[in-house]
């Protein structure tokens, strides 16, 4: 009896800890349009899907001062994780605080005269990233940084919930079987 009470108390502590963990199980949102200007060009970053861990398709649109699309640029993107709070001033990035190696993605696909450049960025981790967009137009190089919040991949959550449902089903089946056995 006392053993059961002890276990019950410990079980309550466990539930409390689980409940305290719950607020962290929230997926970050994505899909925003981020815009920045450099050298008279406007650069817009579109997330076709929410930014999350895994391969995420993005589109970059470059227009000039008049709003005319630029189709002749060569565009590259470097992804750096964990840089949201860093010094991103004129002296460049503080490399000592980087928590992930950069991922380089080349943007080659150009849609017809829209100034759009398409590519897929493989985000390896959730958290704050900075996408450094480098583009060259007529031999001139430009760079724009976009801070991006990358959410966790929901696959893991789905798998976990799947297991939770399966286990709940097993426990429910056992309780029904036990009730039937007692009643018969």
């Amino acid at each position: 009896m006392t053993q059961k009470r002890t276990d019950g108390a410990l079980l309550n502590v466990l539930w409390l800890c689980l409940v305290m963990l719950l607020p962290r199980i929230v997926l970050a949102s994505g899909g925003d349009v981020l815009t920045s200007s450099v050298g008279g060009y406007q650069v817009s970053l579109f997330f076709i899907e929410a930014a999350k861990v895994g391969s995420v398709p993005v589109r970059i649109k470059i227009t000039d001062k008049m709003g005319m699309p630029i189709d002749t640029a060569h565009v590259e993107v470097n992804g750096m994780q964990g840089m949201s709070d860093m010094d991103m001033g004129e002296h460049g990035h503080d490399m000592s605080n980087m928590v992930s190696v950069p991922t380089v993605v080349l943007y080659k696909e150009v849609l017809n005269k829209t100034g759009n450049y398409f590519g897929i960025i493989p985000f390896s981790m959730d958290g704050d990233w900075v996408l450094s967009t480098h583009f060259s137009i007529n031999g001139q190089m430009f760079a724009v940084d976009f801070p991006v919040e990358v959410a966790r991949n929901s696959t893991a959550l789905v798998v976990l919930l799947g297991f939770a449902c399966l286990n709940a089903l097993v426990i429910w089946s056992a309780s029904v079987a036990k009730r039937n056995a007692v009643s018969t």
Partner: protein, 459 residues
Amino acid sequence: MTTPISEPSPSCLSEGNLLKYKWLNLFLRSRWYPGIIQWPTLLLFVVIIYQLFLGPSKAHDNLGTALTWVFWWPVIPIIFLFLGRFWCAICPFATVNDLVQRFVGNNKPVPKFLKKYGIWIIDASFIFITWSDHVWGIVGSPLGSGVLLMILTTAVITSGAFFERRMFCRHICFLGGLAGNYAQAGMLSLHGTPEVCAKCDTAACYNGTEAIPGCPVFEFPRVMASSANCVLCGDCLKNCPNDSIQLTLRPPTKELWFVRKPRVEAAFLAAVIMGIVFVQNVTMLDIWAGTLAWLESVTGTTSYYVNFTITFIFAIILPVSLLSWASLVAAKSNHSTFVENFTRFGYAIIALDLAAHISHNLFHLLAEGKSILYTGLALFGVDSHGASAALVSTPMIQVMQFGLVGLGFLGSLYIVYRIANTYYTGEVVWSTFKPYAVLMGCLGLLNIILFTLPMSMRM
């Protein structure tokens, strides 16, 4: 309710009964044991699951990966050596099993096929999980590790919900075979006092009492001749009305000097574990890339599934073949059958298994140990990237590995000698000893060679 013994009998003292220490006796009998260790372990398990599924997706940064593969996995063979299967008493899967059973348990009897072939299922699942780790990268993927743990959790919940006691732990858990083998080499032994048990007509240790359940792993201390399955949960100690239970210290491997009922599946697993240690070592060495390239040219395919599976099978077959060869050679002089020799002397590999297993994992524990701290601190926003994860230097780890393999080799040799001495007399002892000594020499030397080569990290 049992009365704690204040003074153990003189015979218990002469056997080195640890329960003579009052504090230990009271602790093991208290209602807090093993719960006081079980529940924090379960809580840690929840954190690990949370981290593996919802933490950083890179193994390098994941606390769940660090706790599971850099801490728990390397420490577990060390626990088996010093404390027998104590881990199984506090294992979160066992706690989940008991919890589910308490509320919705149907307590159906264990299916007969599991009683008969359970150990082969355990052997097969251990081999499969080790193989799948390599081809699917379970250790290197937090999600993969999480899925593995959740599959085991689901299996244990099913077992606890429908079947009696800890059926999963006794007949299915993939660690059961390895744990059983290592616990036999372990230094802790729980058993009844024969003269006291002989007069007992309650068998409360097995059947349980109103307050405390019977042995969760279906052991009967009265006739228990081996520590292979005892999980040191303390239930028999609490239930015994005659204070018959003893907990004794013994020299490592002592139980293996004479195994009353040797089983071929345990001997087979002993050889298989050696093969698995080989494959674990080889795939973490720099030479693995070259070996793989050579295999690709031989097989004509770049499929990792195919080439790794070939390596895996070869690594497992190697020690099994060597043991078979030694058994055939020995059979010529000792006139026992091949199977008898294989079964009896296969147990001798366990000492070398344990030493090689600990040595391999010692590298991960000591060369990557600080990653547990770093990934833990990262949860609180403390960045430790770039800092060394090593607890001691690589040469120091190598010295420890060589020392351990040396001890394991001597332990295996001594077991061979004791077994040979038990079954045979005169010249036959030495003619039986020789082929097995060559076997242990080959296995020990292979391990030494592998530990001289630089190894890659898990994190």
